[in-house]
């Protein structure tokens, strides 16, 4: 996978993850072009399109478009599966996820994505494992956060 974009129906970018090194200018250009192309498609159309020398796989969940770019030899259906899997993960984590969850907790959305995909390849196919890893990392974060809050809470913790 070359990159993944999340954008709203209004064309606002909500998340972007690039697995190929590109300069910011090029990234912006690609994003603008793709958002336009995908938004212009009619709702009943299939989820794939050929774009430059890449294949674009996208799917709309509520008001959000999830859009992935893959190479010619990659499997479109499994990419669709990846998108779906990611949405499920978000759903489990936030508890019936909505666009606002992703906007306000965008760093969490990235953390989940990073646990699921690494370098553009699926690293963990088990949903349970991904969520476990995230939960434990979050726990760790909370612990450290509590460490630096005033001493009396620390005492309470102990």
């Amino acid at each position: 996978m070359q990159f993944m974009l999340l954008f709203s129906r209004q064309g606002k970018l909500r998340l972007q993850k690039w697995y190929v090194p590109l300069c910011d200018k090029e990234k912006k250009k690609i994003t603008r072009e793709l958002v336009q192309t995908v938004l212009a498609r009619k709702p009943k159309m299939c989820s794939f399109l050929e774009w430059r020398d890449l294949k674009i796989v996208y799917k709309r969940y509520a008001s959000l478009y999830f859009c992935c770019a893959i190479e010619d030899q990659d499997n479109e259906l499994i990419t669709l599966e990846i998108i779906h899997r990611y949405v499920e993960l978000l759903d489990k984590y936030f508890g019936s996820v909505c666009e606002l969850d992703i906007i306000f907790n965008f760093e969490k959305a990235y953390f989940i994505l990073d646990e699921f995909l690494l370098g553009g390849e699926a690293q963990e196919t088990s949903k349970k494992n991904v969520l476990k890893a995230i939960e434990q990392a979050d726990l760790l974060q909370e612990v450290t956060q509590e460490c630096q809050t005033p001493p009396f809470t620390m005492k309470m913790n102990i």
């Binding site: 760093e107 450290t144 630096q148």
Partner: protein, 1129 residues
């Protein structure tokens, strides 16, 4: 201190966190940019504080702003600070920001190496994990090199969570730092059998990606993967493994046999569409794609899987209600079509159904498939369906796509599938009714092509085009339809060119001269005007046969009345043609009034038939020696670009080597094979052999053109073009025709069978109608191999023009001072310098004169010795310092009278090849010698043969098959007083020395009573100057050239030259093909370039010339020649 901390945390309470920022942005929809710029200012303040929590918060906000498209590269260092925090919360944010914002050119990345190394070896697995994740996004070659070892160690970490990440990131490291692949590979292989499925799947992933780039090195892993494939139930892993086998099997065909069973099982059993799709896709397609294009056999053959199985499965996909599956099914189908057209063709019904789909992308896929599915049998049917869709289609893009597809389908491989061209013409005419299409020119070119190449159809085509012209107002009715009016271009041309087929040329002529035509685009009007003239000629011819001459005069009057409209046109071409033709017609009218018959002469203006030229005609043009079409014109792209493919190089160093010789080997065998195949194809191709008279007859018997009524148009009904036959009719007609043919064939076969039965009693079933049985109704002129003689001439003309280009170039780029008296500049030049006094005024001609005189003297002596030989005495030599000119010499005393008067003029031009003109002068090794033969005697000269004794360095280019001593026949004869020009190409290897070539010209002198065989000796002198080409050079490039130090130095003094400096420069420019780079007072730098790319630089002062060149010998000779020029003035 404590106070400071407290103060910091109180401040923090008022800081915005990410949520506040997001909310703020949402609340400031109107002035978002302004709000964000204040936020960025705040963030800058926050980043200045010592508190890491504040910094992390700021970085988190920045990451969000980066996504919105704001530049945050200025905060790169702060991101590194946050990354190096010991607290996981901040570290996590830091790494996230880095992975979003950093790229290879971010310079602070090199500061992170140690921090990342520390995190990688952290006892906390989540620290390590976060570092690995971040690294995967911004790994650079330096980081990869420095950290490869650390990551490799992590591959054997105790926690599968880390192992899995380490394995995956190794792939990124391999890409950036290919040297790491070899040491890491054994460990990577180990991971294939890792107890944790996640790690295992990661290893499969990485190896599959690597193998896609270079499958050869992973063959040894096949057994392991085979085991995985049969044991694994994880579809993600299976898909990767199948992909891997798709890459491996072509290298090891034995693998195929083993794979049949598990693959077939998978295809039958799996419920996961993604896996099924992968199986089908890989098995049939991947093999054909690079890196193994030479193995065009599909995996299917190795696997001996019936393609029907896959196609059946695909059919299920296409029939599915899910648009995605439908699309992918069609996509895969179109790939299978390339290798197994037969098995796909049986699903035509399904594909046609997809044309009705709501989704445009699916319809387009289906269209692509149809292109490959047509045959002679079903073409008409498919196109009929498509025409229905054209009518229904809403969007213009889709309709245009349909239109181009229809034309593509019909015209593919030389109209191979069209059996009835009347049908095709009417399809084209129907397509012209499309509103707002952009493809008018496409339809037009098809009309032209068919009308020119299918002779039998011309009558029909002309009738159709005439109707189109008559109804032109329908096509041009509103401005939106302007695209389609291109069709009128074709219509007008066809009606004009083949006007003999017109039923009512007068009517068409009138249609072409309507005032409304003036609203058409200029290029179409021009064609109208020109073809009106052609029609006029035809009309005159038919009218002059009649006794009544008024009709013809009326026609002329019509032209004279209507043409002035075009004479006023703003378009130059229209204007020019119209005024020409108008004058012509006026003249004709005058003649007509004197009762002179003019029709013959007028139609002679447009006489002659157009002949098609083979697409391969260019092949017959010999590639000039020394021109290597495979060599790079520019430097090939450097290796640095292919750096990311370097893993390939590590394991497959041999690969690039074998590719070259192998290609050559394939070439020869392949060529023979292809030739054989082509012959076979031609034998089977009904279009190739002259159609048998019977098929033509069948066509004429069929109720054809006569039945189609050409009705007068009713102007009130503009929507359809009336009077045009519907293409549908032809479908029926064609059916009938085929049936008839079939019946005839059956009859014949019956007869045969009867005969056979009576003879041997052997049964022979005709079976269903096969492709080959359908004979076309018309024959297409397809010139594939043979080429008419004249096309060679055309190519010759091409060469000629090129050399003229050079002449023009030289002349135009170097205007001469007025005072400079030009020597004769045309090759026709040249009064023979019979006596030195004759052209004493033309100073520049002197050297030529002198040298020729000297030589003549010598020659004279020789000739006196050998008086027996009649023909000597005339010699020619060529002086380079007269640029591409000329040397003339003529007969000497005491020699045969007629030769005494004959005169030869030699003209010399360097030939620059096509790419030379484009500015690449390397490798030029050809010169063209242009010779003007002028016959000054009273006799007829013929059978002239031109021959030159080749030297080692310079060779006359002779046609293939002739020996090295054969002469070249001059392709013309010379009546008395006539001159003509011939050109001869010489191949010159080294251009650094001047050359002299001896040659002879033999010819037959024919008098009224007798003819004698004569011979002339001559010499050709190739000077070094003549190899130079005036090339402009900018002063900075010039300075660079001089600084480069590659050039050798030399100088010459000009003594006794007293002419103005600018004359001196002009003289060097003109005679020696230099161009002035820069001039400062009485000092100038000049530049020229040889046809082989040597640079020659001069620094000219009034008394001396300093020169530099990368070839000292060439320089010496050029300087000698320059000196000679000036010593003689």
């Amino acid at each position: 201190m404590a106070l400071k901390i407290v103060k910091g945390s109180i401040d923090r309470m008022f800081d915005k966190n990410l949520q506040d920022l997001v909310r703020g942005i949402r609340n400031h929809k109107e002035d978002e940019a302004k709000y964000i710029s204040t936020c960025i200012d705040e963030i800058k303040q926050e980043l200045k504080q010592d508190n890491i929590a504040v910094k992390a918060n700021a970085v988190c906000k920045l990451t969000y702003l980066q996504m919105l498209g704001y530049d945050v590269s200025w905060a790169a260092f702060n991101i590194v600070e946050v990354m190096s925090s010991s607290k996981f919360t901040y570290k996590r944010i830091g790494y996230l920001a880095a992975s979003q914002c950093f790229h290879e050119s971010t310079d602070v990345i090199m500061l992170t190496t140690n921090q990342i190394r520390k995190d990688l070896s952290s006892p906390n697995q989540y620290d390590t994990g976060v570092a690995l994740t971040g690294l995967s996004c911004f790994v650079t070659p330096d980081l990869a090199r420095d950290l490869a070892n650390d990551i490799m160690t992590l591959m054997s970490h105790t926690k599968p969570y880390i192992r899995k990440k380490a394995v995956l990131i190794m792939y990124k490291v391999f890409l950036k730092y290919p040297e790491s692949l070899r040491p890491a590979f054994p460990r990577l292989k180990e991971k294939l059998e890792d107890p944790d499925p996640g790690v295992q799947s990661a290893a499969v992933n990485v190896i599959c990606e690597l193998a896609r780039r270079n499958p050869k090195n992973y063959l040894s892993l096949a057994p392991l993967f085979f085991k995985l494939m049969t044991s694994s139930t994880n579809n993600w892993v299976l898909i990767k493994i199948i992909k891997l086998f798709g890459a491996l099997t072509p290298l090891e065909p034995r693998l195929g046999k083993k794979l049949i069973e598990p693959l077939t099982n998978l295809i039958h059993s799996t419920s996961a569409m993604s896996l099924l799709y992968e199986c089908v896709n890989t098995v049939y397609i991947d093999v054909n794609t690079p890196p193994l294009p030479s193995l065009s056999l599909s995996l299917c053959l190795y696997l001996s899987l019936p393609p029907q199985l896959c196609v059946q499965k695909l059919r299920i996909l296409i029939e599915d209600s899910d648009q995605n599956l439908k699309y992918l099914g069609l996509l895969a189908m179109s790939k299978i079509l390339k290798t197994h057209p037969k098995s796909v063709q049986s699903h035509k019904d399904l594909i046609l159904q997809c044309l009705d789909d709501k989704d445009e992308s699916i319809r387009l896929r289906a269209l692509d498939l149809l292109y490959g599915m047509v045959s002679k049998k079903n073409l008409m049917e498919i196109v009929k369906k498509l025409m229905l869709h054209v009518d229904k289609a809403e969007g213009t893009t889709y309709r245009d796509e349909l239109l181009t597809k229809i034309i593509d389908i019909c015209s593919q491989s030389n109209y191979q599938y069209i059996t009835n061209f009347e049908w095709y013409i009417s399809i084209l005419v129907e397509l012209t009714r499309l509103e707002g299409t952009r493809h008018g020119h496409l339809i037009a070119s098809q009309m032209l092509d068919v009308a020119i190449r299918v002779k039998a159809i011309r009558g029909f085509a002309v009738a159709q085009m005439a109707t189109l012209l008559d109804n032109a107002h329908l096509l041009t009715g509103n401005m939106q339809r302007m695209g389609i009016c291109e069709v009128l271009y074709a219509a007008a041309w066809i009606c004009g060119e083949f006007s003999e087929h017109l039923e009512n040329p007068m009517q068409t002529l009138e249609a072409m001269l309507r005032p409304k035509v003036a609203t058409l685009p200029g290029h179409i009007q021009a064609v109208y005007v020109q073809n009106a003239a052609k029609l006029f000629a035809t009309v005159l011819k038919s009218q002059e046969g009649n006794t009544d001459s008024t009709a013809a005069q009326e026609t002329s009057q019509l032209m004279i009345d209507r043409l002035p409209l075009f004479v006023q046109s703003a378009n130059l071409e229209v204007q020019e043609r119209a005024s020409c033709i108008l004058q012509l017609v006026k003249y004709i009218q005058k003649l007509q009034q004197k009762d002179v018959e003019v029709a013959e002469e007028v139609s002679a203006l447009f006489a002659g038939e157009l002949n098609p030229v083979a697409p391969k005609a260019q092949k017959k043009v010999p590639v000039p020696e020394g021109l290597d079409l495979d060599s790079w014109i520019n430097e090939p792209p450097s290796e640095s670009e292919s750096e990311d493919e370097q893993p390939k190089a590590i394991f497959a160093k041999e690969e690039p080597k074998h590719s070259r010789p192998r290609r050559e080997e394939v070439d020869e065998k392949e060529l023979a094979k292809r030739r054989e195949a082509r012959k076979q194809e031609q034998a089977n191709n009904p279009f190739y052999i002259k159609a048998s008279p019977s098929s033509q007859k069948v066509y004429q018997e069929a109720p054809g053109v006569e039945h189609i009524p050409v009705v007068q148009i009713d102007l009130s009904v503009p929507l359809k073009v009336p009077g045009l036959p519907m293409s549908d009719q032809y479908v029926k007609l064609e059916e009938e025709r085929r049936q008839k043919e079939r019946a005839e064939k059956k009859k014949k076969e019956k007869k045969k069978r009867k005969e056979k039965r009576s003879g041997r009693g052997k049964k022979h079933d005709s079976g269903p109608e096969s492709e080959e049985d359908i004979t076309p109704a018309h024959q297409v002129d397809i010139v594939t191999e043979e080429m008419p003689e004249w096309s060679i001439i055309t190519s010759y003309i091409f060469i000629k023009t090129k050399s003229y280009c050079v002449t023009v170039h030289v002349c135009s780029s170097r205007p001469l001072a007025d005072s400079e008296k030009l020597p004769v500049r045309s090759h026709r030049a040249a009064e023979a310098p019979k006596s030195p006094t004759e052209d004493g005024d033309a100073t520049s001609q002197e050297p030529k004169k002198k040298s020729s005189k000297e030589k003549r003297e010598k020659k004279k002596d020789k000739d006196r010795d050998r008086k027996v030989r009649i023909s000597t005495g005339l010699f020619l030599c060529l002086l380079g310092n007269h640029s591409h000119l000329i040397l003339v010499s003529s007969g000497l005393p005491g020699i045969n009278k007629c030769i005494q008067k004959s005169k030869l003029v030699f003209c010399f031009l360097p030939l620059t090849k096509v790419y030379d003109i484009q500015g690449n002068l390397q490798d030029g090794s050809q010169v063209v010698v242009s010779v003007i033969f002028e016959n000054k005697c009273d006799s007829f000269l013929k059978s002239m043969e031109f021959n030159v004794l080749d030297s080692l360095n310079s060779k006359l280019q002779r046609p293939e098959g002739s020996g090295p001593h054969d002469g070249l026949t001059v392709p013309f004869q010379l009546p008395p007083g006539v001159s003509n020009e011939a050109r001869f190409v010489f191949t010159v290897q080294s251009i650094i020395m001047p050359q002299k070539l001896k040659g002879t010209l033999t010819f037959i002198v024919k008098n009224e009573d007798s003819s004698t065989h004569e011979k002339l000796d001559f010499k050709l002198h190739f000077t070094c100057t003549s190899y130079l080409i005036t090339t402009p050079c900018y002063s900075d490039a010039f300075a660079k050239l001089l600084e480069s130090g590659d050039l050798k130095c030399s100088s010459v003094r000009l003594e006794g030259v007293n002419m103005p400096f600018h004359h001196l420069l002009a003289r060097i420019c003109f005679h020696h093909h230099f161009s002035v780079v820069e001039r400062i007072d009485s000092c100038a730098s000049m530049y020229s370039r040889s046809i082989q790319g040597h640079h020659v630089c001069l620094l000219v002062k009034t008394v001396s010339i300093d020169a530099k060149c990368d070839e000292p010998t060439l320089l010496g000779n050029v300087l000698d020649e320059i000196k000679q020029t000036f010593s003689q003035c």
